[in-house]
């Protein structure tokens, strides 16, 4: 199981090496660079939007189920703030953990062309992904440290020895 994971990580690290377009001023031979605050903030915004969307879908799913089973007594459920916040945080943690552990790319990361890696540029493990997701959800302001860090690391990156780097863009045929 461990060897299988190693092989997958090696594949993920070695194969996304697709040259960037010339308009970006970089090529496949450029070193891997950590993403800056603007890109990561945009990624966070997109991911936040996706999480809200998921929560909304869950809410409407719950409403639909209630309508389906008891249409006469249907009324819009009143969900408390604590439950809503907790649901959002829980969905966010699950969402981030899943995508970071699977490929290092959330939807926002894939859209902005960055990915989360370990300090060895491999896909982070499930535990590290869960811990980082938890830290990011609890203390999102740790992202601001990217501006001050010479290696563009957030506080979560420093604690868990991870990095968010610019991903090589996929070819136009994909």
């Amino acid at each position: 199981m461990r060897a299988r994971r190693r092989r997958r990580e090696s594949f993920v690290v070695n194969h996304p090496a697709v040259p960037l377009p010339a308009e970006d001023g970089e090529s496949a031979d450029d070193p891997i660079r950590p993403a800056g605050i603007v890109t990561r903030a945009l990624v966070a915004a997109v991911d936040t939007f996706v999480v809200f969307l998921l929560v909304a879908l869950m809410y409407f799913g719950l409403v639909f189920v209630r309508l389906l089973f008891d249409p006469r007594a249907f009324s819009w459920p009143s969900i408390g703030t604590f439950f809503s916040v907790t649901a959002c945080l829980g969905v966010a943690v699950i969402y981030l953990t899943f995508w970071w552990a699977m490929s290092g790319r959330t939807i926002g990361s894939a859209l902005l062309g960055v990915r989360l890696t370990s300090h060895r540029l491999t896909v982070v493990r499930w535990a590290a992904a869960f811990a980082r997701a938890l830290l990011c959800v609890i203390f999102p302001f740790g992202l601001i440290w990217v501006v001050f860090d010479s290696r563009r690391r957030s506080l979560q990156d420093i604690l868990l020895r991870t990095a968010v780097v610019y991903d090589r863009q996929p070819s136009q045929d994909e």
């Binding site: 970006d24 660079r33 800056g36 603007v38 890109t39 859209l111 062309g113 001050f148 136009q172």
Partner: protein, 273 residues
């Protein structure tokens, strides 16, 4: 009798028509001709002179004899002479006619034998300057006298065309090589398509086309969903690439600003492994 003597005396003497010649034949020394030619010519002249002298002698002798004979003898003699003269003329005429016929036959035979023995083409080639003769020919004059129309009327063109094996001729033609020699661009530049298009009955052509079936076949051959996917993907990928590029530039700008703010320079390091 006197008439007969007068006839003898006035008879034309062929010898008198020729200029007198030196009796000793000294003319040989006055001309520089070759010895053979000189001998033949002088031998013939000598013979002719001898015969002339003999004739004159006989004439003089006969005249003197006739004058000496009495009339009862001279008359039969003159009658005999007339008969002899008439017979001689008949014989002369017959001989001339026969000689003429014999000469014609001889000439014909000689010519036929000569033609069979000689190669006239070879002789003409070796001894006739055909170019010089051709240069003197008035070709235009000859051509003006030729009735081309009559010649063409006698030619059975349809019969000739019917005998042609056009398939075999066409197969033997290397059309590719001939086409390569043609400057199609130059030909196309000389073509004025406007008159052709003006004469074309496009409405009739379009009316014969099943546009619905044609459109169906074209649509069947086009993968519209794939085109839409590709165009959408291209547009979205362009937009995404632009967003990524802009965000990367913004990252660098923020890092540069912070670097200048804290005096650390541009903070855009590469991740160490």
């Amino acid at each position: 009798m006197s008439k007969v003597l007068l006839m003898f005396q006035q008879a034309p003497d062929p010898d008198t028509a020729h200029p007198p010649m030196d009796q000793t034949g000294s003319a040989a020394s006055s001309t520089p001709e070759s010895s053979g030619h000189w001998l033949v010519r002088n031998a013939a002249e000598l013979t002719r002179r001898s015969v002339g002298l003999a004739g004159q002698s006989v004439q003089a002798f006969g005249s003197s004899v006739v004058h000496a004979l009495p009339d009862f003898v001279a008359k039969p003699v003159m009658a005999a002479v007339d008969v002899v003269q008439t017979g001689g003329r008949a014989v002369e005429t017959a001989c001339k006619t026969s000689a003429d016929a014999a000469m014609r036959v001889t000439i014909r035979l000689v010519v036929e034998i000569a033609l069979s023995e000689l190669d006239l083409n070879e002789i003409v080639r070796n001894h006739v300057d055909l170019n010089a003769l051709a240069a003197q020919l008035d070709i235009d004059e000859v051509a003006s006298r030729i009735d081309i129309g009559a010649i063409v009327d006698r030619v059975d063109i349809m019969g000739i065309v019917g005998d042609l094996d056009l398939d075999r001729i066409v197969d033997s033609v290397d059309l590719n090589r001939q086409i390569n020699r043609v400057d199609l661009n130059a030909v196309a530049e000389r073509i004025n398509p406007d008159p052709l298009v003006a004469r074309a009955n496009l409405e009739a052509v379009i009316a014969r086309i099943d546009l619905i079936a044609l459109a169906d076949s074209i649509i069947d051959g086009i993968d519209l969903p794939k085109i839409i996917r590709q165009s959408t993907s291209s547009i979205s990928s362009e937009a995404v690439r632009g967003v990524r590029s802009q965000s990367m530039n913004a990252d660098d700008a923020v890092a540069g600003f912070m670097g200048r703010l804290f005096g650390k320079g541009d903070a855009s390091p590469a991740t160490s492994t």
